[in-house]
Symmetry: C2
Subunit: 369 residues, 2 copies
């Protein structure tokens, strides 16, 4: 037995440490996403988590929560604390007066790729936490936990990262060759299909592993960038940003700061699935019921004057690692300087993009198949 | 509730990374210790672990093993794999033909201080492992795990590190002031007493936490440097080495490479307890029965010509961190160069030291109190 056989996914860690462009200092977008999701998660736990669903053997006065793709904090600590408190409230309301004296022991599993900066994560754990903290290194496209060992799982802004890029994107003889672009936005249909197929494969392995690890009655919340049903990918803000990043890189290739072949061979391993696609993939797996699904609007609170700057900073924190890996560290400041200028030049495209509902929150419950 | 309240122990991480003086490359001594302990652990699992001791709720087809003070590997991976295999054999012999098809899922918890290099640990995990690997950051002098959640615990070469140095060692007005020396070896009685008291306090909190975390029927193996009953600390090899290290530092102080005040304020936070002391502390705790206790001889296999060199390298890997922290990194090569020369000058002291049995292996079983 091996937990890793035949799974060799790429990893794209967020920028570690706590410097200017680090993920720790530039994850305010994800933080606001977390806040919007918080009330939904609270309600989902209140309405759908049933302590009595768990057998006494599977509960055993312990409650195991996992955050899959936790990065280095601090958002993971905030959202895990929220979930813990909502579960405690559920215990109190459902099991009566003997609580809080008989709250279970909470063990929280912080998961991310082996290449994640776990040293930073561990050193920033809240000192006064109400739980036992554990780090779990490895890809969530494979098995990470024993059978039926988790009660509640969250994955926020993580499942949209593909485990691998479809090979045909790099094959000049394939109709899915993606020369001159870095994403499926505004690309040939075949490129989009290759992304769709890879995402479907990844979600299948993700859901298959979680179906084994989450006990019957357990819940899972997925928070992810999404494309609303029947809206083109190119019309959502992240689509516009990826398109501007691609044209920034092509400008630099034309000026021979980087080579055009480098741009041809670079593709962002990201896919923003629609609610309809996610529903189909979850139904194909068959072990989870969708108890709630909602598209949130993240952009209502963002000042339009600062959109370009904040979107650029956010993208840099998330993508710097893979861009440096492909293009080298010398050009990184120039890449994002040009991206920022593009956001000013094409501010109208960004401002007129489809912003109502590009964050999907999915609340799932592990059922008996 | 907090898992950390009032516990702010010092941490003394082994040297991370994999460079020349790293722990990863200089832990052969601990490796040989692990090998000697292996057969004892195998026997202890065969003879004393009883799967039927565990209730079905506490077993639930999972088996949880923890290594407390695991450092960065590779020894921890070897010893955890040994334990896993011995437990599998026990399942097979005790529960019959349905195994190995029904082996439990093994989850192995690798614990060390927050300052341990978990990134290196995680990236060197065996890829074909038969268990789910988890990292647990924090001091084992406090709580790390939920109540009754562990089946088997090992701690190898870790519990002899004191959580804090007794304050009176630094108080010039105290009879336990330890000026001019760095350890209790050859020091005043009061110095030794301060070390004994701190070690007793640390073991009390260690055993108290483990008594809560290890389920009834669970086992714990402690492997530690020890001083045989009625043998003076100054007569065992580590005692001689610490004494030579102290006089190397004092020589450097006389030559004004470091200050004498720096030596006065430096003390090694290490204590080598005797079997008699450990027995008393375990009985005071009251939750564990000692099912086996043995002193091993580690030195029979070491070539006397290379003893000085290998002891110096070993000590450097273990102590470089705290020496650099106190004296600065500039003098570190000089300190260990002088220590090596002392081992040559006083080779007779090292060779004539008491070597029969300075590694204690304790096999404990969690009982109903």
């Amino acid at each position: 037995m091996s937990n890793n056989t035949a799974i060799t996914p790429e990893s794209y860690p967020m920028k570690g440490g706590d410097s200017t462009y680090s993920y720790a200092k530039n994850s305010s977008f994800q933080k606001s996403a977390t806040n919007i999701a918080k009330s939904m998660i609270d309600e989902a736990i209140t309405d759908y988590l049933d302590i009595k669903d768990f057998s006494s053997a599977s509960l055993n006065n312990k409650f195991h929560i996992a955050d899959l793709g936790c990065s280095v904090g601090p958002n993971t600590f905030i959202s895990m604390q929220n979930i813990l408190e909502a579960v405690q409230q559920k215990y109190q309301s459902q099991l009566g007066d003997q609580y809080p004296h008989k709250f279970p022991d909470f063990q929280i599993f912080f998961n991310d790729h082996v290449s994640n900066d776990f040293n930073t994560l561990f050193s920033s754990l809240p000192p006064e936490r109400q739980y036992f903290a554990v780090g779990v290194p490895g890809s969530f496209h494979g098995r990470l936990f024993p059978n039926s060992s988790l009660h509640f799982v969250q994955s926020s802004y993580a499942v949209h990262w593909l485990s691998n890029l479809p090979e045909e994107l790099l094959d000049k003889n394939s109709p899915a060759w993606n020369g001159g672009r870095i994403h499926y936005i505004n690309a040939d249909d075949e490129v989009g299909k290759a992304y769709v197929a890879q995402f479907a494969k990844d979600m299948a392995s993700f859901l298959d592993a979680r179906a084994k690890e989450i006990m019957v009655g357990g819940m899972m919340v997925l928070i992810m960038p999404s494309t609303p049903n029947d809206v083109p990918h190119s019309r959502i803000p992240s689509g516009v940003m990826f398109d501007l990043l691609g044209s920034s890189l092509m400008d630099m290739a034309k000026e021979e700061l980087i080579s055009e072949a480098q741009v041809d061979s670079f593709n962002l391993p990201l896919y923003a699935a629609s609610p309809k696609e996610m529903t189909e993939l979850i139904n194909q797996n068959g072990f989870f019921s969708i108890v709630r699904m909602e598209l949130n609007n993240l952009f209502s609170c963002i000042d339009s004057q600062t959109t370009g700057k904040s979107c650029t900073m956010h993208l840099r924190a998330a993508l710097e690692g893979i861009i440096v890996k492909h293009f080298g560290s010398k050009v990184i400041d120039e890449v994002f300087h040009r991206l920022y200028e593009k956001t000013q030049e094409f501010s109208e495209r960004l401002e007129s993009s489809y912003k109502e509902g590009t964050q999907l929150v999915l609340v799932l419950k592990r059922k008996l198949k």
